[in-house]
């Protein structure tokens, strides 16, 4: 998986490209810990190029949300495809992490 980090108007945008499986969830966690250490509070994960997520990826997102909440920040996700959105809904993770239709809408509301 490729992970690209951009900062737009004080929001840290994490752009993922690939599958959020066992190994790549660890990569995402490591990348997140680095940006958290650098002081990021508002984090948006862009799923436009993510084709798969399993429980390891879902757990990483929950952990990121918890760490940001503790730091007084928040986590959002955008550009999620229908299959992945379905998983967010059946696991009720969409109640923990706000999902935005696209990046523009997400940045506007952050």
């Amino acid at each position: 998986m490729k992970i690209l980090v951009n900062t737009i108007d004080e929001v840290t945008v994490v752009i993922l490209d690939g599958e959020l499986n066992v190994d790549d969830s660890i990569l995402l966690r490591d990348a997140f810990l680095k940006i958290l250490k650098e002081g990021a509070k508002e984090v948006m994960v862009d799923f436009e190029k993510v084709t798969f997520i399993g429980s390891a990826g879902l757990a990483t997102l929950i952990e990121m949300m918890q760490m940001l909440r503790k730091a007084g920040g928040r986590l959002g996700c955008c550009n999620i495809n229908n299959s992945i959105r379905g998983l967010f809904e059946i696991t009720k993770i969409h109640k923990l992490i706000t999902i935005y239709e696209n990046r523009a809408l997400a940045l506007k509301s952050f």
Binding site: E19, N21, V22, D23, D24, F52, G54, S55, A56, L58, A59, I62, E63, Q66, N82, S83, L87, I90, T91, K92, K95, L96
Partner: protein, 131 residues
């Protein structure tokens, strides 16, 4: 179609193992959604077998048997661990469990597949889906 493969209990091998199985499964007629859910079920069943079943003991194997008969795909994943109480799996979507980092695997499998059964004290999970 009939596939039987084994892998050692190493988490870092799961992604590659699934990819090699999916290449063969893509020979079957299935749309993107069904492929996503089959991959998800395999992913979760293998993590459970390696992590919770065989408890990461590398010398213990995980076996995957896949058959397709009369439009039904059956995937069976078997570990060599001590088994588990599959009748008392906590519900991951109750408020007290919602933020837990573990415990979603079987729930995801049950949602991804049409039918799920356990055998041999939980060492084997049998997952079925119509194609």
């Amino acid at each position: 179609m009939r596939i039987s493969e084994t892998m050692p209990s190493q988490l870092e091998l799961i992604d590659g193992f699934i990819s090699s199985l999916m290449v063969r499964l893509f020979e079957l007629p299935m749309n993107e959604d069904i492929a996503f859910y089959i991959k998800l079920a395999l992913h979760e069943a293998l993590i459970n077998a390696v992590k919770h079943g065989n408890k990461m003991r590398e010398h213990l194997a995980v076996r995957v048997d896949i058959t397709k008969e009369d439009g039904q795909l059956t995937i069976q994943v078997t570990d060599q661990g001590e088994g588990f109480d599959f009748k008392n799996i906590p519900d991951p979507i109750t408020p007290e469990n919602l933020e837990k980092l573990n415990g979603r695997g079987v729930f995801l499998i049950q949602n991804a597949m049409d039918k799920v059964e356990f055998a041999d004290h939980g060492r084997t999970i049998k997952m079925m889906k119509s194609l």
